[in-house]
């Protein structure tokens, strides 16, 4: 393995060395030939003799340009252009490390003259950088992403992010709107053909969503965060289209896969249909996921539709969906929108899982060895409808209404056999259980947000947020449990058969009114030392109605109502929370750098009233609480333009938890005698105080990208903890339905107690270093996390502290050579420790080490081969597991719209779905059935039609002569 890694590193180094060669720098000034004025934002482009673009630069205020990184000894063409002026071009040879150009004079175009117009690949138009696709020579089936890859200064990084001159693109729009209503840029860049793109515009917008900007919104002098936005402008006659994918695959072991998507769009509207079905444990969460998986071109195309080998059981999924969007405006911006979006998704899942579980418990009363086997099948169906409307205008007035509704139903069946032995390997108890049931649920959610900020009316700046939801759940379960408890005196058998019908309805309404003009109201135009005041009023009302009907099935088969477990009740909770928030911003900005320190302090009071009306008298409890809460923190940002940015934040806050009704006055259901929950009558409220801190450092330019993030959290609390009361070899009669003194044979009774103080802390880090070479890029990512948890608890009535810790590291390196070769190596280490202090002083440790190696070779743009090997080892498993998956894909037809793909999974046939974990009182390992080796052939077709039949599909770069007509 070491030799292998060494070879890989050597390969990477040798490729990077081969890129290193001498480069030079040129500089000069562009002026107007008439008045001699400097021309700011003129475009200076360096071409190779074959007309490909080497690089470009936009002149500064003094018309000055400086371009570095031009390979030495080459012949080039320098072209300068400026809107309304004749283009300028001259050949030169890069024969020295620094080359100065004489002042370049551009002259104004005169009317009715014949001009030789070269196709300018990149130019500035006002504040907007414009990329002209016509200037880039590419194949006819090329898409937007391939075009962007050719633009100097634009980098599509291995993780999918796009940067321009080192600045990350935060939003990608098509004709000023999110394409097909989706926020994923790849749906546009991997589908839209290059030859329908008129131009790609890049500009900055104020980030209206930023918390800091919202605080500064009324102060026009303060620095605001800005977002780099990329807008793909389509040719006027190509502003409509239909595209998508149909795919079908069949494999060994009765595996199949179907997927399809049809997307339509025009100037203002879009409509998308999608369908997916498989039994290869491939996830299809919603239509957006189907769209992501169905793009026409993708460097990672061979990783699409990957089976999830870690999923338990075999899952068959069917999921069709439809989604639409309509904008009432021709173009949108971050502050000007008027759009409606909606969709419908259906998802059907059929799941069959066989599970074997082996558990070891180390207890004072004697160790327990628990073996259980289960077989379950579940089927579920879900219908989901969404409808969203948003409208905002330039005056920071914003309205959005989001609604969603879903209906789901399902049936389930399971069988379970459990045997418990003592440390002498003697059977102490066993259980057989059968459960079957069905359920359905309906939910409806709607929320409304309205923001009003007006520079001219400083007293009427406010936000209103309100939401309403209704949920109804119905379930019916038929459960039968057959227990045997063994003791020297004989066998005691308990048989429990029940029918449990539950109906639950929850209605929830909440609203927040935030008044942002409190300072103006109280102190008028006085600035109050720059401190801002915000007054919030939060109101919520929640009503839950539960109806539980439980019947015991007697041995003779008769059905008898269970009086204890049958009850109805209603819980109504009203909450009101007034708050005052003080913020102050310290800042300084210049053309080169800026820093900003945003501080906040929020104090608020939480009034809670809970009224329970139950058919069980002891649950007729009404409670009221008043909590004083606070939240304070700061956020520091420093940016050196085009060099680095640093962001740090700290926060400290408190919160309260109240025990629920089921914790303080539970209805004890002892259907599962192995795990009876009894609650805790004397529970009281508890407070959690949390401190958190985080920092992010980003360095980027066109060649390098470094991102480093750390975050730390610490929570200190006295919290409600369940404790485990476990005894062995004691047997008494079991009084069902909640009386005290239940001693079970080797089982657990759980109470909730008011524990001692506990705490948990975590520290995480994430580093990404990317480097772009002339023809490739390499990206290294490393992240990790350390967490520690101290939990006070009781086991067998003995106080113990469970200290657990987790350390995880993940590193991966991805190397691209053009788009021809993609090589990925990753490694994971996960270590868990759990230690009891006070009970048996046991300590448990699990450690998993795993690694991945993947290689994709795109022999041509249309033939590719990829392979992935995963290797993992766990200290609880005897044999390491290696999974090797591979696939090959071939694009054919003239337009490359068809794809044939061969997939082979688990070629070594080694996969076993095993998990091994450490618990508070021992270990457990679980084996489930899952995906096994299969081979599959898939054929896909990508229908594509954009605009009308005719169109200018010029792909060649060059010059053309045109007569200007006025």
């Amino acid at each position: 393995m070491k030799i292998f890694l060494f070879n890989i590193i050597f390969l990477l180094l040798s490729v990077s060395v081969s890129f290193a060669q001498g480069t030079g720098r040129i500089y000069g000034t562009v002026k107007d030939s008439t008045g001699g004025e400097f021309l700011e934002s003129a475009t200076v482009i360096i071409y190779r003799p074959d007309s490909t673009v080497v690089t470009f630069k936009i002149t500064d205020k003094k018309g000055y340009f400086e371009i570095a990184g031009i390979p030495l000894k080459g012949n080039y063409l320098l072209a300068a252009s400026y809107a309304g002026y004749k283009d300028f071009g001259m050949k030169f040879k890069m024969d020295s490390a620094v080359k100065k150009f004489d002042t370049i004079f551009l002259s104004v175009k005169s009317n009715d003259e014949v001009v030789v117009k070269s196709i300018i690949p990149i130019r500035m138009n006002g504040d907007t950088l414009e990329i002209n696709p016509e200037a880039f020579k590419m194949s006819k089936d090329a898409v937007g992403e391939e075009l962007l890859n050719k633009v100097p200064g634009v980098v599509i990084w291995a993780d999918g992010s796009i940067t321009i001159d080192g600045k990350p693109v935060s939003k990608l729009l098509v004709n000023g709107k999110p394409f097909l209503g989706s926020r994923d840029p790849r749906i546009a860049t991997q589908n839209l053909p290059k030859n329908i793109i008129d131009k790609i515009q890049v500009y900055s917008e104020v980030d209206a969503a930023s918390q800091q900007n919202q605080a500064n919104m009324l102060n026009q002098n303060e620095q605001k965060d800005s977002l780099v936005t990329m807008n793909i402008k389509l040719k006027a006659d190509k502003n409509k289209g239909v595209f998508g994918k149909y795919g079908a695959g069949i494999g060994t072991a009765e595996r199949y896969q179907l997927d399809g998507a049809v997307n339509m769009f025009n100037k203002k509207s879009s409509l998308a249909f999608g369908f997916g079905s498989n039994n290869t444990n491939t996830s299809i969460a919603n239509l957006n996921e189907i769209m992501q998986e169905s793009t026409f071109r993708n460097n990672y195309s061979n990783y699409r539709n990957r089976s999830n080998f870690n999923k338990s059981g075999i899952n068959r999924v069917i999921s069709p969906g439809i989604q639409f969007s309509h904008s009432f405006l021709e173009t949108e911006s971050d502050r000007r929108r008027n759009r409606i979006e909606g969709g419908y998704d259906f998802n059907s899942n059929l799941d069959k899982t066989i599970r074997q579980n082996y558990q070891e418990r180390y207890l004072l009363g004697g160790d327990q060895l628990i073996n259980s086997e289960s077989e379950s099948s579940n089927s579920s169906e879900r219908h989901n409808v969404t409808l969203n409307y948003t409208k905002s205008n330039r005056d920071f007035r914003n309205l959005s209404i989001n609604t969603s509704s879903s209906y789901s139903s399902g049936t389930s069946e399971s069988k379970n056999n459990t045997a418990i032995k003592n440390s002498q390997n003697e059977l102490t108890s066993d259980k057989k259980s059968n459960v079957s049931g069905n359920n359905n649920s309906l939910s409806f959610n709607t929320d409304l947000r309205f923001y009003n900020s007006n520079f001219d009316k400083p007293l009427v700046n406010y936000n209103i947020t309100s939401s309403f939801s209704y949920n109804e759940n119905n379930s019916s379960r038929n459960e039968s449990n057959y227990y045997n408890f063994y003791s020297p005196s004989g066998i005691n058998t308990t048989i429990l058969n029940r029918i449990i019908d539950k109906n639950s309805k929850t209605t929830n309404f909440s609203g927040i009114f935030s008044y942002n003009s409190l300072k103006r109201l109280l102190v008028g135009r006085f600035s109050l030392f720059g401190i801002r005041l915000q007054n919030d009023h939060t109101f919520s009302y929640r009503k839950t109605e539960d109806m539980n009907s439980v019947y015991d099935i007697e041995n003779n088969g008769t059905k008898k109502a269970n009086v204890y477990l049958t009850f109805n009740e209603q819980i109504a909770t009203t909450e009101y929370q007034p708050s005052l928030r003080l913020t102050k911003n310290f800042y300084k900005f210049s053309s080169k750098q800026n820093w900003n320190l945003y501080t906040y302090l929020r104090g608020f009071v939480q009034f809670i009233n809970e009224k329970n009306t139950s058919s069980k008298d002891y649950r007729n409890i009404s409670r009221s609480f008043v909590f004083n809460r606070y939240d304070l923190g700061l956020n520091y940002t420093k940016r050196m333009n085009n060099v680095y940015s640093l962001n740090g934040n700290m926060a400290y806050r408190n919160s309260y938890n109240t025990p629920s009704l089921n914790q303080i006055a539970p209805v004890v259901d002892s259907m599962n005698l192995y795990n009876v929950y009894k609650g805790g009558v004397n529970l009281s409220n508890n407070e959690t105080r949390s401190a958190s801190a985080g920092a992010n450092f980003t360095f980027n330019n066109t060649k390098k990208n470094l991102d480093f993030t750390v975050s730390a959290n610490y929570n200190h609390n006295s919290i409600l903890r369940p404790y485990i009361d476990s005894t062995t070899n004691l047997r008494d009669t079991i009084t069902i339905n909640g009386n005290d003194s239940v001693y079970l044979n080797g089982k657990q009774i759980r109470h909730t107690i008011h524990g001692e103080k506990g705490n948990n802390s975590s520290f995480g880090w994430n580093a990404t270093i990317s480097r772009k070479f002339k023809k490739g890029q390499v990206q290294f990512q490393y992240n990790g996390n350390i967490s520690k948890n101290r939990m006070p608890s009781y086991i067998d009535n003995i106080f113990t502290t469970i200290n657990s810790s987790n350390i995880s590291h993940r590193a991966n390196i991805t190397f691209y050579y053009k788009t021809m070769l993609i090589l990925g190596i990753s490694g994971n280490l996960n270590n868990n420790n759990s230690k009891q202090t006070g009970y048996k002083n046991n300590s448990f440790n699990t450690r998993t080490v795993s690694g991945d190696f993947s290689l994709t070779i795109n022999f041509t743009k249309n033939i590719s081969l990829s392979s992935q090997i995963s290797h993992s080892k766990n200290n609880g498993l005897i044999k390491p597991i290696t999974i090797w998956n591979s696939n090959a894909a071939f694009r054919f037809l003239k337009s490359k719209q068809a794809e044939l793909k061969f997939t082979a999974t688990d070629i070594l046939k080694q996969f076993k779905n095993i998990s091994y974990t450490a618990n508070a009182d021992g270990f457990s390992s679980t084996i489930t059935n899952g995906l096994q080796q299969y081979f599959m052939i898939t054929i896909s077709y990508f229908p594509r039609k954009f605009g009308g039949r005719s169109g200018n599909n010029t792909d060649a770069i060059g010059t053309r002569v045109e007569r200007r007509v006025n």
Binding site: D32, G35, V108, G126, K457, L528
Partner: protein
């Protein structure tokens, strides 16, 4: 109201003439400022002769340095950017800045209401004046002072205690729509007003905020007046305003007629217009620099600012950039580094970097220099403070 017969002057900037500096300028003297660790100041600075001292405003280091008339360093004082842009008040020998009072937070509407009713004393508290009294150099300290409405509007002093308000602000929040670009006040009384405009939405000035250019002539009771998007040069007296010169620019440099009728929807649209028509001249301004010459300045929509000399006798225009330094003016670039003018004495700031480049180019060979200038050229290195050179125009 606007009287007088204007003289038409055809002005093609690229045809402006050139010449030798010594034909126009007479070198007077040099002031070398002591360079020490404490007295070193940045090249990005402004040097002003103030009473018996020179003051240097070092913007990079946010400090003001005081030198005596021979260039000897005396002391310095720090200043904060928030006090606003400092101006020298010759009459009172002090530096002054008027800025918004940071104790208040004003919306755009508030601001419009305040300046619309600038004569209401309740509105004066929203502005503050900071000043540094240079008469008492032993206690250099910035002081704060209440201001009145005319000061708030940055009114300029005129003859006989008259004041001129030349501030133009366009805002839809103004109650009244009529305002005048030039207003002459005596105490609180408005005596004269010229150039009416719609202060709510004048299409020429919308989305801009500026002052009409008012500059000194060789008579105390006359001022030059020049306006944006108008190439006429006016003179203002306490009783009248009349056109003096009507400069006619070439068609490709003059604002086209459609500009005056375009209704710009928003600031972006206007800025885009400016960007796309950078070379059009937005403002022509004049300044009396000698009995014979006027300094003309052309500012383009692209904020390019170029200087010209206008011979008021012969009506010939010279391009500052085409007037070359020569041996009689010691090869010093006297027309390009203007620092300050006091009556008809003009000062330029010369940085050590420029001087060293001059020496390296060989231009200083075979020239007989005045002693002080020669000494400076011999001793200057890259860490030497900039110097002040003063000169007059020949008649």
């Amino acid at each position: 109201m606007i009287t007088g017969a204007q003289e038409k002057i055809f002005f093609e900037p690229k045809s402006a003439r050139g010449g030798l500096q010594s034909d126009f300028i007479e070198y007077k003297d040099i002031v070398v400022f002591e360079t020490s660790r404490e007295s070193r100041f940045d090249d990005f600075c402004q040097i002003i002769p103030a009473g018996n001292n020179y003051i240097v405003m070092d913007y990079s280091n946010k400090k003001i340095l005081l030198f005596d008339k021979k260039g000897k360093y005396l002391k310095q004082v720090k200043f904060k950017e928030r006090i606003g842009s400092l101006q020298y008040n010759k009459e009172q020998n002090r530096l002054e800045a008027i800025s918004l009072n940071k104790a208040y937070e004003l919306s755009q509407k508030d601001y419009a209401q305040i300046i619309e009713h600038f004569d209401n004393p309740k509105n004066w508290k929203y502005f503050r004046k900071y000043y540094l009294d240079l008469n008492d150099t032993s206690h250099l300290i910035f002081r704060r002072q209440q201001i009145n409405g005319l000061e708030m509007m940055r009114a300029e002093p005129f003859v006989n205690d008259l004041k001129i308000i030349s501030k133009v602000t366009i805002d839809k929040n103004f109650d009244s729509q009529e305002d005048y670009e030039i207003k002459i006040f005596k105490a609180d009384t408005l005596l004269k007003k010229y150039f009416p405009y719609n202060r709510r939405n004048d299409s020429r000035y919308i989305f801009e905020d500026f002052s009409i250019n008012v500059s000194a002539t060789d008579r105390a009771d006359h001022k030059w007046i020049t306006r944006p998007y108008d190439y006429m040069v006016y003179q203002l007296t306490p009783d009248s305003l009349y056109g003096v010169y009507n400069f006619i620019l070439p068609i490709d440099r003059a604002m086209p007629l459609d500009f005056y009728t375009t209704d710009f929807k928003d600031k972006t649209e206007k800025n885009n217009y400016k960007r796309q028509n950078k070379k059009l001249i937005s403002h022509l301004s004049v300044n009396t620099i000698s009995n014979r010459f006027l300094q003309l300045r052309l500012q383009s929509l692209g904020y390019e600012n170029k200087g010209y000399l206008f011979d008021a006798e012969t009506k010939v225009i010279y391009d500052n950039e085409k007037i070359s330094p020569d041996s009689l003016t010691f090869q010093l670039p006297l027309l390009n580094n203007w620092a300050y003018s006091d009556n008809k004495m003009h000062f330029i700031k010369l940085t050590a970097k420029t001087v060293l480049e001059m020496i390296a180019s060989g231009k200083t060979k075979n020239i007989t220099y005045p002693d002080k200038l020669e000494m400076y050229l011999k001793t200057a290195d890259k860490n030497t403070n900039p110097v002040l050179i003063y000169y007059t125009y020949k008649n």
